[in-house]
């Protein structure tokens, strides 16, 4: 218990004293995870919509892959990606190993199945007649898709929360592809691992508390958005 209390004190001290490195790590964490979540939304929403509404061969199989992907161990995703982007790997020429870009890519791969799955589920939960209704109200194809997603916003925001929550709290892939380089790819989770490895448990606890606060704040804002627009 002592370490936790000390950690809480240390967390406040680090935050209040404006510790540049802690703020940089927290900011980087937010930036990388937000970018990855945004990308996975950009790809996952249309894909989820297509899987939910489409009538094509192999739809069920694809959906099964997506559902399996939702539970994919992040560290395996990280490992596979690392093997691709390492110097001797097929994508080695891109020089992505141990860069924030690689971390965004890994987190994108982790979050996208979640976003697709949540989107597909929430679109499928809409009244089946809704697309036809929108068409008869005069909505064109793109407009219809947009309105459908808007109708599914409860589930969509759940998708955002699930995606962001998964990547911001993930350590295995971040460590593997990012390498935990101080000042460039060190994020809150990997910084916690390092602090723990150094035996600096108060610092680890402080970073943990900051991570929890960050994840909670984002989730809280999204939840408020979700609940406000629901009557």
């Amino acid at each position: 218990m002592g370490e936790l209390a000390a950690g809480l004190g240390e967390a406040f001290r680090l935050l209040l004293s404006g510790d540049a490195e802690v703020y940089a790590i927290a900011g980087r964490t937010l930036l990388i995870s937000a970018a990855a979540t945004a990308l996975s939304l950009a790809i996952g929403c249309p894909a989820g919509l297509a899987l939910a509404r489409g009538r094509f061969r192999g739809r069920t199989l694809l959906l099964s892959f997506v559902h399996a992907g939702m539970g994919m161990p992040p560290v395996v995703v990280g490992l596979v990606l690392w093997l691709l982007i390492t110097r001797s790997g097929p994508l080695g020429g891109l020089g992505l190993a141990y860069t924030p870009t690689a971390m965004i890519a890994a987190q994108f791969l982790i979050a996208t199945p979640l976003v697709i799955g949540f989107t597909a589920a929430s679109v499928q939960a809409l009244p089946p007649l809704l697309p036809d209704l929108l068409a008869t109200l005069g909505a064109g194809r793109l407009r219809s898709l947009w309105l459908l997603l808007r109708e599914a916003r409860l589930g969509m925001l759940a998708a955002v929360m699930a995606g962001f929550g998964a990547v911001v709290s993930e350590v295995g892939a971040a460590m593997t592809v990012g390498g935990n380089l101080r000042g460039s790819t060190r994020v809150l989770t990997t910084a916690i691992v390092t602090a723990t490895g150094r035996g600096d448990l108060s610092q680890a606890a402080a970073l943990g508390i900051i991570l929890l606060a960050l994840a909670f704040t984002v989730t809280f804002l999204l939840t408020r958005l979700q609940q406000r627009r629901t009557d």
Binding site: D132, L133, A135, L137, G138, T230, D231
Partner: protein, 319 residues
């Protein structure tokens, strides 16, 4: 704008749900599509709205209809709304048709008044009662004043008073905008009050189409007659149909015996309910009694005859 349907077929899986050679809805006409459950009425409406992947042609004003066609407005039988207020739901279609905000508000106010929705306009659509939802559903479609308006069982959500009113309002609204309307209904009174033309569908095929009055007065076959509410009986080797209220007590040509099952007091008049024939082929017969006319006891056998009747198969006749 006129609506033309030609060589239309629609399959669901192995089942052919629509098979229509040719069907025209003249510009400004109001047509009631009438038929038993599962006869393809709703499917026909969906085809005209461009919602189905069908084979054949549906044109509006000579141009093929397409999904999301702004020339068509369709009120589905099920009331589906977006997660928003009633007002926003009524407004969406108008906004998608680029109708100016001020006109939008005017039309919404008017439709809300007509359909008894003024008090609930700013409530979430999800909170409406079943009846209110049906009315909002209808109001949303009528507010669009589209050149082609399709209504699927439009009055099922109205109580009797509202229904009587809407039976007058809907034709007036449709006439104001010179709308070509197609209305699916299973209620004969609705069909005649709302529409000037009838299309009768059975098993996905058009069995009769034309102006409502003449079609009713001389149905082309026994199935059509039954759909229109005729009682059809086999009398000797003949098939005879007669409309409700045309039966009188006493012998006549063609006359037949009825075994009375009970007498029903309808308030302003009484009905004798009886049975003609036996077993599987038995037909229920209704005989309207005048206020001072004597009744009958169950089990009593009466002779009755229709004042007007149609004979099918071997030509038609009337007394």
């Amino acid at each position: 704008m006129d609506v033309r349907v030609a060589d239309l077929t629609l399959d669901r899986g192995d089942r052919r749900v629509l098979d229509v050679d040719a069907l025209d809805f003249p510009a400004g006409s109001v047509t009631a599509v009438f038929g038993p459950n599962g006869s393809g009425k709703t499917s026909l409406l969906r085809c005209v709205a461009g919602l189905e992947r069908m084979r054949g042609n549906v044109t509006i004003g000579g141009q093929p209809v397409r999904r999301g066609d702004p020339r068509v407005a369709l009120a589905f039988q099920e009331s589906v709304f977006l997660h928003d207020t009633v007002r926003a739901n009524l407004s969406l279609g108008l906004a998608l048709r680029d109708i100016h905000r001020i006109e939008r508000e005017g039309r919404i106010a008017q439709m809300a008044e007509e359909c008894g929705l003024a008090a609930v306009l700013d409530r979430p659509a999800a909170s409406l009662s079943a009846g209110e939802a049906q009315r909002a559903n209808l109001a949303r479609t009528l507010a669009l004043a589209a050149p082609v308006t399709l209504l699927d069982e439009p009055l099922s959500g109205f109580d009797r008073i509202g229904r009587v009113r809407m039976l007058e309002e809907i034709p007036a609204l449709l006439a104001t905008h010179a709308t070509t309307a197609i209305i699916v209904t299973h209620d004969r009174e609705e069909a005649f009050r709302l529409a000037d033309r009838l299309v009768l569908l059975v098993g996905g095929r058009v069995v009769a189409a034309g102006p409502a009055g003449p079609l009713y007065r001389s149905p082309p076959d026994a199935d059509t007659a039954r759909l229109l509410g005729y009682t059809v009986i086999r009398l000797g080797g003949r098939t005879i149909g007669f409309a409700p209220g045309t039966l009188r007590r006493g012998p006549g040509e063609p006359g037949f015996p009825v075994v009375v099952t009970r007498e029903v007091d309808m308030g302003n008049h009484r009905h004798l309910i009886g049975r003609f024939g036996r077993g599987q082929g038995a037909v229920t017969i209704e005989l309207r009694l005048d206020p001072d006319e004597p009744g009958a006891v169950p089990g009593e056998e009466l002779l009755v005859h229709p004042t007007r009747w149609t004979e099918f198969g071997a030509g038609t006749g009337a007394s």
